[in-house]
């Protein structure tokens, strides 16, 4: 959650001072080239107009296709990544599903349908088992905060006593469906200290640390299974809210956990974040769709505004409607301009009818998963047929800001924000994760990611889909699943798991044009028939990608440089060290000011051709020169360079990137 390395207050002051000075100089520095204090940079102006889009030659044919099967000896394909270690499950968990991951210090917590595996990752080439804690419950979604470990239980066979025998009775006081809480202050001996039972169990959960509350953490519980009987857990009502206001449907649960007294954890609210949810029938149209509508409008088409989105009335409706207006005025024959005008004035009424109706008001009854980003006060709720944007500034009372749906999306599964909190990516777990949804015949828009920009802080606008381009076999369960951002400065890059589709790393800096830049995949577990396997979660943590392999254990993977990602960018990503990560509680990355960070931005200016090659070369040699120096000489040179970059910023094709570079240099000079 907290980057260990932040710029010190003095660094910030000095940095700002340097920039203010640079600003003053900028008045004089109208020329694109610049010289001061021994640094003589050529003109930064690029020779081409506009930034070059990210391009990378993907291997062809795609090596992910046709891989040999096997449990521990399947063939593998890797592009721009290297597998550092493959660790099979500990014996008690062999043959049982590995699920989500959480991280604290040098430990990985790996959920398993039969409990929790704790790995020591001090040496990522050889993760060492600390504890294999047997306590069955699906899906064992895990989170960690401080000395507490939280584990989700949803299945009918989870027991309070962690027994493996299941629960034979439909109504039983031995069943656990909800959140288990462990004290891990002694990591070698987790202590099971509390439970919170919930009406629908906990399929997943999200730990929210309110920046304004250091005594508690909050847990948002998402449960998608049917409501348990009230005879088992009093107060649980499965009826619709219209029939019983206490319905456990159409709400999430918020648990408050006092950090000093986790035994007192309890449900403090059940926000009905879905109330009155009348979303547009589709997600907002893409810009290309809007253009098409405008063209149609100019050509005389009937355009309705449904849920704020313009929609062309399909021809098959137009003809019968016009005919009815003809009949209504007692006419016969072909419709005239009069009927056409009548239909046009009827359109708003028609739109209203299309947006309403009793079933249209019935939104989702639960979320599958919620990703909170406390630093920006937002959460992304992936909730059945909808993606929600929530305001979580009051953690007990999350408030819905916007909702989108999408006819291509089957089941909204999870959300990931960009680091700035201005974009959000939702995944569609079409088929529930057990189905082979990446076959050649499966559409690229189904079981994919949908990328949205967040407009004005409270509205989502659709941009594009992303799905792995490699066809998988019918023996491989494959669909979009869990991922996290990789802290590449100045870009939005994430790693995502696709079950037996492997893991994929892609750039979504341009939300309309996501580009895959690396991947790892194995052949199926079994060549003859579907056996569940693949990457459940793939997250970046402190320099490596950790992938929870359902059947094969824990994979640790490192990024390799490529034309789409430089060694400097990778090194800058590695410099971001967290001491805690729950991917559903998104941290804001901040980069320590290093030479790698500065060089990463220079590499990006070069790759996008937003700075001239001569300028890039000049900055690089100045950076090399500075790095070879020490003390005051280094500081002065870097500070001068910072000022020059700032002066030249507006002459470059990407002034914002230039200012990031100037800021990084100013910070570096101050260290």
């Amino acid at each position: 959650m907290r980057p260990t390395s932040r710029p010190s207050p003095s660094a910030r002051r000095l940095g700002t001072g340097a920039l203010a000075l640079a600003g003053a100089l900028a008045v004089a520095g109208c020329a694109a080239s610049s010289s001061m204090g021994g640094v003589d940079l050529p003109s930064v102006a690029p020779s081409t107009d506009g930034p070059a889009p990210l391009r990378i030659d993907a291997p062809s044919p795609d090596p992910r296709e046709g891989l040999g099967a096997g449990l521990f000896d399947a063939e593998e394909a890797a592009w721009n990544v290297r597998v550092v270690s493959r660790t099979p499950p500990e014996e008690p968990f062999v043959g049982q599903t590995n699920s989500d991951l959480a991280f604290k210090d040098h430990y990985v917590f790996q959920g398993n349908y039969d409990g929790v595996q704790i790995w020591d990752i001090t040496d990522p080439t050889t993760p060492r088992s600390v504890v294999t804690y047997v306590c069955p419950a699906s899906q064992s979604d895990v989170s960690v905060y401080g000395d507490l470990l939280f584990v989700s239980g949803e299945g009918l066979s989870g027991r309070l006593d962690c027994g493996a025998e299941g629960v034979d009775q439909q109504i039983s006081d031995e069943r656990l469906r909800g959140i288990r809480i462990f004290d891990i202050s002694d990591i070698d001996s987790p202590e099971y200290v509390a439970n919170v039972q919930t009406c629908r169990g906990s399929h997943t959960h999200t730990v929210l640390k309110d920046p304004n509350d250091d005594e508690n953490v909050y847990i948002y519980v998402s449960g998608s299974a049917p409501v348990r009987p009230s005879e088992e857990l009093p107060g649980c009502v499965g009826a619709l809210p219209s029939d019983d206001p206490n319905s456990a449907l159409f709400r999430i649960e918020v648990i408050r956990v006092p950090l000093a007294n986790p035994e007192a954890a309890e449900i403090v609210s059940s926000p009905r974040i879905f109330d009155d949810l009348v979303a547009p029938p589709e997600h907002g149209p893409a810009p290309a769709d809007l253009e098409a509508v405008e063209r149609a409008r100019e050509e005389g088409a009937f355009v309705l505004e449904i849920g704020g989105d313009p929609t062309v009335l399909p021809d098959r409706y137009v003809e019968p409607l016009l005919q009815q207006f003809v009949e209504r005025r007692g006419g016969t024959g072909a419709p005239t301009a009069q009927d056409s005008a009548a239909l046009r004035s009827y359109l708003p009424q028609l739109a209203e009818q299309m947006g309403g109706g009793p079933t249209a008001d019935m939104g989702p009854t639960q979320c599958h998963d919620i990703t909170v980003y406390p630093d920006v006060g937002l959460a992304g709720g992936a909730c059945e047929g909808y993606g929600l944007l929530l305001d979580i500034s009051d953690p007990v009372n999350p408030r819905r800001l916007d909702a989108v749906s999408d006819s291509n999306f089957s089941y909204w599964h999870s959300a990931t924000f960009d680091n700035a909190g201005t974009k959000v990516l939702f995944s569609d777990e079409w088929g529930g994760g057990g189905g082979p949804k990446c076959r050649e015949s499966d559409p690229m828009e189904w079981g994919a990611d949908a990328i949205f920009t967040i407009e004005d802080g409270d509205r989502m606008e659709f941009q594009s889909y992303f799905k792995i381009p490699a066809a998988q076999t019918p023996q491989e369960n494959c669909v979009a699943h869990n991922g996290s951002l990789i802290p590449i400065p100045g870009r939005d890059i994430m790693v995502q798991s696709w079950y037996q589709g492997g893991l994929s790393i892609f750039d979504w800096t341009d939300p309309a044009n996501p580009v895959e830049i690396a991947f790892h995949d194995r052949g199926p577990v079994n060549a003859e028939q579907m056996e569940s396997g693949g990457a459940w979660s793939a997250y970046w943590y402190d320099g490596y990608i950790y992938s929870s392999e359902i059947a094969r254990g824990l994979d640790v993977i490192e990024l390799l440089p490529s034309e789409a990602l430089s060694e400097n960018e990778i090194e800058a990503a590695r410099s971001v060290q967290l001491d805690l990560l729950n991917s559903q509680g998104q941290p804001r990355f901040e980069w320590p000011h290093t030479f790698a960070l500065a060089r990463a931005y220079v590499d990006q200016l070069e790759r996008s051709r937003t700075a001239s090659q001569a300028w890039v070369d000049g900055v690089r040699s100045t950076l090399d020169e500075a790095e070879a120096m020490s003390g005051g000489a280094r500081r002065d040179l870097v500070q001068t360079l910072a000022m020059q970059v700032e002066v030249q910023a507006d002459a470059a094709g990407d002034p914002a990137k230039m200012r990031l570079l100037a800021d990084a240099l100013a910070g570096l000079a101050a260290m």
């Binding site: 099979p88 047997v134 962690c162 009775q169 987790p190 439970n195 998608s224 049917p226 009818q353 088929g431």
Partner: protein, 230 residues
Amino acid sequence: MHLLRTLLILGLVTSAACAGTGPSPSGAPAEPVETTSPADGQEPDLGRLEALYQARADSARAQYHPADVDFMTGMIAHHAQAILMSLWAPDRAGSDAIRTLAARITNAQKDEIALMQRWLRQRDQPAPEVSPEGRVSGHGAHMHMTGMLTDEQLARLEASTGVTFDSLYLASMIPHHEGAVTMVHDLFATDGAAQGDLVFKLASDIQVDQSSEIARMGRMLDAMRAGSPR
């Protein structure tokens, strides 16, 4: 059945006993045990782990309840009818939205049928056969599950085209899906049922997928009904 379950439970308990088993908060203190992982630097014996994987897979297959078998068998027949109805859409539907919806339903339910058939066969249970057109033969051919259309209703849908097909398709598929959700609720209300992860997951997925789809179809149907002025 109970004897079988008891034996399996003993088997599982044995396998769990080699690692730490946590008690409930009110129970005895936890004593997680260091696992039997090889010493640092020593490669784990993957052959042995793979054998263990197969043995566990075999034993997991023997864990089921008669209600699970009935659920899987009935749901195959139920899904098959959804495919039968959906495969009429390419030729008969009046809109691309319905064709897309039908394609998605066909895709999803074909995959689930394959999964359920495999589940039954691996447990030496007779599995209904489903033709590519969605016709059921063999065991379960004459099952009529809740929400399924009668032959007469099917004939009406098959004979319709255009907007009529679209609205009939939605008006039939909504209760059809609701029937599947009811089947899941009935399964979960049965003592000892859906204890296995596969059955629990499949049933939960059917419940959430079809509930989401019911809401979506409801919106489509509303929009369609609004399409003609009164």
